[in-house]
């Protein structure tokens, strides 16, 4: 009987214990998330998740390289509408690779053809994918994902 009565309470206590995270670990997790955002794959590399680190770095790099090669539009902070602002936020998700894409696009964007339009999507996908990877690294550092 006592086990039945304590079951849900014990589960709640266990859940609360999982939610309470050491502030030091929380800060470390934030640092790891930030590192993962700035340099794709670094968040996982710092946690010795080598496969994921290499995969994140290579996939984001591939998307940026293809997107810039197809002369996709790389949005800037001076967007005139909500879509340009959202595009900028997505592009910025690639962290330091945003600036690499900018350096690669020596001739500027060309969205007059389908190539350039696809390139814009590749660049945005690189940013969003890197944000996802950084969030994954952050959650892993907090002990929520393996």
């Amino acid at each position: 009987m006592s086990e039945e009565a304590q079951g849900p309470i014990a589960e709640e206590a266990q859940a609360a214990a999982v939610d309470v995270i050491d502030p030091k670990r929380q800060k470390l997790a934030l640092g790891i998330g930030f590192a993962g955002w700035m340099i794709p794959g670094l968040g996982h590399a710092l946690q010795r998740m080598w496969g994921r680190a290499v995969a994140c770095c290579l996939t984001v790099a591939a998307l940026v390289f293809i997107g810039a090669g197809m002369r996709g539009n790389l949005f800037t902070s001076e967007g005139s509408d909500a879509f340009a602002t959202l595009g900028y936020l997505a592009d910025l998700g690639a962290g330091s690779f945003y600036f690499i894409a900018k350096a690669l696009e020596t001739n500027g964007p060309d969205v007059s053809r389908a190539d350039g339009d696809y390139g814009t999507r590749f660049l945005a996908a690189a940013g969003v994918l890197n944000l996802l990877a950084a969030l994954h690294a952050y959650e892993a550092a907090r002990g929520r994902k393996a």
Partner: protein, 60 residues
Amino acid sequence: MSLHLSHLQAMLLFAVVISVAFGFLSRRPSMERLKYILWSLGLFLLIGIGIGWVMYPFSR
């Protein structure tokens, strides 16, 4: 630097890269990863080509 890809090549590249990233982020044992990558890639291509065919009557 200028890269010219056909619609199909661009879609295929996008699907491969995103599937690999999803597979590595969401699965751990290598076999599970491979299965997930292939499953995700198949769905990307199936849905992409499917939507292409659905839009075909309105293309001209």
